[in-house]
C-alpha cells in the first residue's frame, strides 16, 4: 500500500506581473519502507515539493493539489494542529544545513528531549535516557556528555547526526532528507549516507533522499525521480535510469559528471534552466535539448508510463522509431537560453 501519495502538486508564487509555478504538476507515490531519490539542479523545485509534503511552503507560495495522502489520511483536510502532530512524528525531515536548522540558543540535548516530550509525552527522565540512546545510535561518541553541548560546539557532521537523531526520535514512517550531506566533507558524507541506509533498512522506514548529486542518489535509493523546472521529467528504477536514461535531460546530466570521464572535454548542456517567470511554451527542456522539434517546442509533453517508470518527453531515447518521428516533426536542435 502506498504510504505517501501526491497527485498533481502545484506550488505557485504570485508576483505583480505573473504567477510562476515553482512546482508544476508533480505526482509521486512512495510505498512503505521504500527509498526514493529526487535529483535536480538548483531551482528545479525538488526541495519545495518536500516542504509542501511537510506543510511548510513559505509565504507567499500557493499550494494546489489533486490528492495529498499520507497513511491514508488526506493531508489537505487536516487542521494545523493535526498537521503539526504528524510532522516531526510520523514524517520527519532533515535539512541541508545543520548549523542553521538547530537552535543556537539551546543545547542539542534540550532540543532532542523537547521533541520526545512533545510527541511521545515522555517524562523528563525517560526522554533524557532515550535521547542519549538516540545519539549513540547515530554514532556520536561520548553521547551523554554531548547532551549539554550547544550546536556551535559541535562540527557540521556531528550537528547533522543530531538532526538525524531528532528526525528518527519518534520512529517516523517517512524520513525526508533534503541534501543531508551537501554541507559536509566527503569522508563525513560517506558516514552519514551509510547511517541513513542502515536506518532505512533496519527500521523499514521509507526514505526520500533529495540531492543534486546523482551519485549520492545512485547508491542510496532504489527508485529515482529527475526534476527539471518544477516538473518530473523521468522516474525509474535506479539501475535503469543510470544504465539507459530515457529523457534527453537525464542523459545530458549523467554525461556532464566529471566522475565518468577522464581528461577529455566534458559534455555540457547549452544555456541555463529557465527562470520562474520565463518558462518556455512547449517542453520546458526544449530550448536546451538537442532533439527539440517544432512539435516539442509547441506542445508540452504529458508525463506517461514508459519502460519501468514514467517519462515526460515526446521522443524517449529508447523509442525505436524516434529518429523517424523527430525528422517528421521537424528537428530544430538546441538554441540554448541566454
Amino acid at each position: 500500500m502506498a504510504l505517501l501519495e501526491i497527485e498533481n502538486l502545484i506550488v505557485a508564487f504570485p508576483s505583480r506581473t505573473a504567477t510562476g509555478r515553482a512546482v508544476d504538476g508533480v505526482s509521486i507515490t512512495v510505498a512503505e519502507g521504500e527509498s526514493l531519490g529526487v535529483v535536480g539542479e538548483s531551482g528545479s523545485g525538488k526541495s519545495l515539493t518536500m516542504l509542501a509534503v511537510m506543510g511548510l511552503v513559505p509565504y507567499p507560495g500557493q499550494l494546489t493539489v489533486d490528492r495529498l495522502r499520507f497513511k491514508d489520511r488526506d493531508l489537505t483536510r487536516l487542521s494545523g494542529r493535526e498537521r503539526r502532530r504528524l510532522a516531526g512524528k510520523s514524517m520527519a525531515m532533515i535539512f541541508q544545513d545543520p548549523m542553521t536548522s538547530l537552535n543556537p540558543c539551546f543545547t542539542v540535548g534540550f532540543q532532542l528531549v523537547e521533541t520526545l516530550r512533545v510527541h511521545e509525552k515522555m517524562d523528563r527522565k525517560a526522554a533524557r535516557r532515550r535521547a542519549i540512546a538516540l545519539l549513540e545510535q547515530v554514532g556520536i561518541p561520548a553521547a551523554e556528555s554531548r547532551m549539554g553541548a550547544f550546536p556551535h560546539q559541535l562540527s557540521g557532521g556531528m550537528n547533522q547526526r543530531v538532526m538525524i537523531a531528532m528526525a528518527i526520535a519518534c520512529q517516523p514512517d517517512l524520513l525526508i532528507a533534503d541534501e543531508p550531506t551537501t554541507a559536509l566533507d566527503v569522508t563525513v558524507q560517506a558516514q552519514i549516507l551509510q547511517l541513513l541506509r542502515t536506518l532505512q533498512r533496519d527500521r523499514g522506514m521509507a526514505l526520500i533522499l533529495v540531492s543534486h548529486n546523482m551519485d549520492v542518489v545512485a547508491e542510496t535509493a532504489r527508485r529515482v525521480a529527475v526534476m527539471y523546472a518544477g516538473q518530473i521529467v523521468e522516474e525509474r528504477d535506479t539501475a535503469g535510469l543510470f544504465g539507459t536514461p530515457q529523457h534527453p535531460y537525464t542523459a545530458a546530466l549523467l554525461a556532464a559528471r566529471p566522475e565518468h570521464r577522464e581528461s577529455a572535454r566534458l559534455a555540457t548542456i547549452p544555456g541555463a534552466p529557465p527562470g520562474l517567470n520565463d518558462r518556455p511554451p512547449g517542453c520546458l527542456f526544449g530550448p536546451r535539448c538537442s532533439y527539440a522539434t517544432l512539435r516539442s517546442c509547441a506542445a508540452q509533453p504529458e508525463i506517461r508510463p514508459w519502460m519501468d517508470g514514467r517519462i515526460r518527453c515526446h521522443y524517449p531515447l529508447g523509442d525505436p522509431d524516434r529518429n523517424a518521428r523527430i525528422a517528421a516533426d521537424g528537428l530544430l536542435g538546441a538554441k540554448g537560453v541566454p
Binding site: 538548483s42 562540527s155 566527503v186 569522508t187 551509510q194 547508491e219 566529471p258 566522475e259 566534458l266
Partner: protein
C-alpha cells in the same frame, strides 16, 4: 626548464588567543608544503575543510606572507621581493574565488568589474580598457551586450565566467582557483571546467586548482597534492595517485567519493578532523586511520619518494605490494 612556481617548505602559523592570561595557541594552517608548478600545468590541492588549502591559496596569491619557507614566482623571490618587483609579481598571479555571488560588487557594472585591474595596474586610457574587457568577455563566452549589465542579472555559471575574465585581464601566468565550481550545478560546472581547460591551452596558464571534489580534480589536474591538517599526505602525478593511492587518507577520500567506483566501507576513516590547534603527536592522520599502528602515534612520518610520488606514511610500501 625552470618551473613557474617553486614553493619550498611553505609554512603559515597563526597565533590564536585563548584567553587573557593563557599562552596564545599556535595554529599551523600550512605546515611545510613544497611543490613546483610549470606553465601550462595544473596542480590540484585536495583535502577536507580545515586542511589548510585556502590558506595555501592566500600564500600563493601573495595576500599573506608565509611565516616560513620560500616561494618563487617566475624565478623571483616572492616572500621578500627585490625593490620594485612587488607590483609586477602581483600581476603574474590572480585569484578566482569560490562564491560567484559574493565576489562581484553588486553596485558595479560587469564592464567596470572586469576593467578595474587594468585601471589600477596600467596607464591605459578608458576606451582601450573597454576594448580589452570586451575581448576578454568574449573569450569566456559572454557577449558585448553583457558589458553594461549588473551582476544580479547573471546566473551562477555566468558570474563565475565574469570572475575568470577579471582574473585573466592582466594576462597572469598563474591562476589560483579556490573551489571555483563547487557552488555550481552539474551541467553548469561542466561548462566552466571546459572553459578552464580551453583557456589553459590557449594562454598557457598554470593553475593551482583547489577543490574538495576528487571527481573534478581527476578531470582537470596534472599533479595532485593531498593535504590533511596543513601537511602534505601524498603528492605526485594524477595517474599515480588515482591509479594506486598509497596513503590511507588518499584511499579514504577515494573510497568516500560517490561515483568513483571504488566505494567500500572498509578503509573508511573513523570520526572527524581533530582540532588543528592540538594536532596528534605522531602522524596527523593516526586518530582516524584504519591501518594505524603504535609507531604512527609516536613518530611523524616524513615524505618519501615511492613509486613516482611522495607519500608521508610509514607503511606505504605495504599498500604498494598488496
Amino acid at each position: 626548464m625552470t618551473a613557474l612556481v617553486v614553493a619550498r617548505g611553505l609554512e603559515r602559523i597563526y597565533e590564536v588567543r585563548r584567553g587573557l592570561f593563557k599562552e596564545p595557541g599556535r595554529l599551523r594552517a600550512v605546515g611545510g608544503i613544497s611543490f613546483a608548478l610549470a606553465a601550462g600545468e595544473t596542480l590540484a590541492v585536495v583535502g577536507e575543510s580545515g586542511c589548510g588549502k585556502s590558506t595555501l591559496a592566500r600564500l600563493i596569491t601573495l595576500v599573506e606572507k608565509p611565516t616560513g619557507g620560500t616561494l618563487a614566482l617566475d624565478g623571483v623571490d616572492a616572500v621578500n621581493p627585490p625593490a620594485g618587483a612587488r607590483r609586477r609579481l602581483r600581476r603574474t598571479v590572480q585569484l578566482v574565488s569560490q562564491d560567484p555571488y559574493g565576489s562581484l560588487n553588486p553596485r558595479k557594472k560587469i564592464g567596470a568589474i572586469v576593467e578595474d585591474p587594468l585601471a589600477i595596474n596600467t596607464k591605459l586610457p578608458k576606451p582601450a580598457r573597454a576594448g580589452q574587457a570586451i575581448e576578454m568577455l568574449a573569450k569566456v563566452g559572454l557577449g558585448r551586450e553583457h558589458y553594461g549589465r549588473y551582476p544580479h542579472m547573471f546566473s551562477g555559471g555566468q558570474r563565475q565566467r565574469i570572475a575568470i575574465a577579471r582574473a585573466l585581464i592582466l594576462r597572469p601566468q598563474l591562476v589560483v582557483a579556490d573551489e571555483p565550481v563547487s557552488a555550481l550545478d552539474v551541467s553548469v560546472q561542466a561548462q566552466v571546467l571546459n572553459l578552464f581547460m580551453d583557456l589553459q591551452q590557449e594562454l598557457g596558464l598554470a593553475y593551482l586548482f583547489i577543490s574538495h571534489d576528487l571527481a573534478v580534480v581527476r578531470h582537470i589536474a596534472h599533479d595532485v597534492l593531498v593535504m590533511y591538517l596543513g601537511l602534505a599526505m601524498e603528492q605526485g602525478p594524477k595517474e599515480k595517485i588515482f591509479g594506486r593511492p598509497l596513503h590511507p587518507y588518499t584511499q579514504a577520500l577515494l573510497a568516500s567519493t560517490p561515483g568513483l567506483g571504488r566505494r567500500s566501507s572498509h578503509g573508511m576513516p573513523k570520526g572527524e578532523l581533530p582540532s588543528p590547534l592540538d594536532p596528534p603527536k605522531g602522524c596527523v592522520f593516526s586518530t582516524r586511520c584504519p591501518h594505524v599502528a603504535e609507531r604512527c602515534r609516536e613518530e611523524r612520518p616524513p615524505a618519501r619518494l615511492i613509486d613516482g610520488r611522495e607519500v608521508a606514511c610509514h607503511f606505504a610500501e605495504r599498500f604498494l605490494a598488496s
